[in-house]
C-alpha cells in the first residue's frame, strides 16, 4: 500500500523525495510550489485527516521546515485496514528571513488555528489566511518566541526587572 503511494507520488511530481520508514511513517520532501498540489493529491488519495502542522527551526541551515501530517480517516465506519496506520509527513523548506507561505485552509479547514499559531510563534506569514491575529500570547516580541535565536534569559531578565517592586506603605 505504502509502495503504491510512493510510486504514484514520484511519478506524478518532480523534485519530491519520498522515504518510507519501518514504523508506518512516510516522509515526503517537496519544493514550496508543489506542496499544495501534493496535499490535494493526497487528500484525493484518501489522506483526508490533517492532524497537525508543525515547524522546525533549523537555525544552522538557516531555514524553517514546515511539516504537514496527514493520515486517512476510515472509509467505512467499522473497517480497520493497514492503510490507516500510514502517516505521511510532508515537509518543505522555507527561508528564515521573511518566511511566507500559502494557506491550506481551502483544502483543510482545520488548518486555521495551526497556521495562526505558527504565525505567532515563528513569524511565518500565510497568504490568504483570514485572521492572523494573536492566538495564545499577549505581549509583542521582537523575535517570535519559538525561534531558536530567541534569547530566553534576556527576555526573562527584561520582563522581571521591569516589574515595579511592591512598595510597603510607611506608617
Amino acid at each position: 500500500m505504502s509502495k503504491s503511494i510512493k510510486e504514484a507520488l514520484e511519478s506524478t511530481f518532480r523534485d519530491v523525495q519520498v522515504s518510507f520508514r519501518e514504523d508506518n511513517r512516510m516522509a515526503v520532501t517537496a519544493e514550496n510550489e508543489s506542496v499544495l498540489p501534493i496535499l490535494r493529491f493526497l487528500k484525493d488519495a484518501g489522506f483526508d485527516h490533517l492532524s497537525l502542522i508543525s515547524v522546525v527551526d533549523w537555525i544552522e541551515d538557516n531555514l524553517f521546515e514546515l511539516c504537514y501530517f496527514l493520515t486517512p480517516y476510515m472509509q467505512n465506519d467499522d473497517e480497520y485496514t493497514d492503510r490507516q496506520k500510514l502517516h505521511i509527513i510532508l515537509k518543505t523548506p522555507l527561508p528564515r528571513d521573511e518566511p511566507r507561505f500559502k494557506t491550506v485552509i481551502g483544502l483543510f479547514p482545520n488548518a486555521e488555528p495551526y497556521e495562526r499559531e505558527i504565525h505567532e510563534f515563528f513569524g511565518i506569514d500565510f497568504e490568504g489566511h483570514p485572521r492572523l491575529t494573536p492566538l495564545l500570547l499577549e505581549r509583542d516580541y521582537e523575535v517570535p518566541p519559538f525561534r531558536k535565536d530567541f534569547d530566553t534569559r534576556k527576555y526573562v531578565a527584561e520582563l522581571l526587572d521591569s516589574v515595579p517592586p511592591i512598595e510597603t506603605k510607611k506608617k
Partner: protein, 365 residues
Amino acid sequence: MRELELYFGPQHLGMVGNFSITLKVEGDRILEAAANPGYLHRGFEKLMEYRTWIQNFPLVCRVNVIEPDHIEMIYAMAVEKLAQIEVPERAHFVRSIYLELARVGSHLFGLWAYANMLGFDTVAQWAMYHRDLVLDLFEELTGGRVYHIYIWPGGVRRDFPPGFTDRIVHTLHSIGGCVPDYNSTFFDNRLFYERAKGIGQLTQQQAKEWGATGQTLRATGMKYDIRKVEPYAAYDKVDWEVPTRKDGDAYSRILVIRDEMIESVHMIFKLLDAMPEGPVYTRMPNPFKWKVPKGEAYVRCESSRGELGLYLVSNGGDKPYRVHFRTPSYPHGLIVLEKLLRNASIADVGNIMISLYVVAPEIDR
C-alpha cells in the same frame, strides 16, 4: 434587535476551565463565536528544548491537567522510538491498565462537569466521589494523586504493589455497581434527554472536515480509535469494542463517553487476566549523560478526548530539538466549537463546550 458583544469566560458561571469565548449575540441567538485561548499558556514546548530527556517528564504531564497519563505515554513512546528502547511485555500490560484507569477517572471528571453544568448536582457529586476512588489507586501506585509520572522510557517506574490487582477489581466493582443509579438518575432522565438531544449537532462529513477525533467523531458513527487503528501498548492483546452513536449531538457524545467508561472497565478486567509475569522496565543509561540519536518521530495514541500526537525531533543531543503536541482539544476547541456555536442559544454554550470535552490547558500548552 440590537447586536451585543458578550465575553463568555474565563470568569463566568457557565465556563469550566481557563478558557474564554467572545460571542456576538442578537437577543439569545449567537451570530458569531470566537474562541479566545491563552489563559494557561506556559510555553512547555519551548521549555522542553532546554531540559534533558528525563527532566521533561514532570513537564509533559502538566500539558493536560485532568488526564496527564496519556501525555506521559506518548512522550515515552516517542523517546523509545528515537532511542530504540525495547519495552518488556508485562510493562505493556501495566501501561494499558494504567491508561484505562486514567480514562475512567477522566471520564468521571467529564461527567462531573457536564452534570454540574446541567444542574444534576447529585450525579456530579457521585462522579467526583468515584473519580476520587480511582485517584486513591493512583496514589498507592505512584505516590501522586493528580500528576503521576509513572510511565518511563523503557517501561514503567515500578511494578504493582502486592494486592494492588485486588484493589483495582474492588474499586471498579464499586464504580460499576453504581451504573444503574447513574442511568436512572442521569442518562435515562427525561431532563437530560430534553437538554442534550439535538444540541451541537454535526454530521460525519463536518467532523472529518474540521479535524475532529475521539467522541466527537465516534458520536457520528465512525469507529475511529487509535487503540484499534494503530494499536500500541497491549490493546491488541485483548478483545474489546469501540462504542459509537449515530446522531452526532451532545446527547450521543455523552452516551459514547458512558459506554466507553464501561468498556474500559471490562477491558481492565481482561488485561488483568492476561497479564504475564516478568520485569516492568528496561535498564536505562545514566540520565545526565544520555544522548538520544538524531532523528524524528511522530507517535499518536487515543487519549480520553481523541487523537493525541507528538512530533519529537532530536539532533543527537541530550535535549529535544523540537517538541510539538497535537492535542485533541485543539481542533475541538478552536474550530468545531466556533462552528457549532453559530446560531445556538446562549444557554447552550456550556452545554456544547463540555460535550465536546474541551480542556483549556491542552489547547494552550
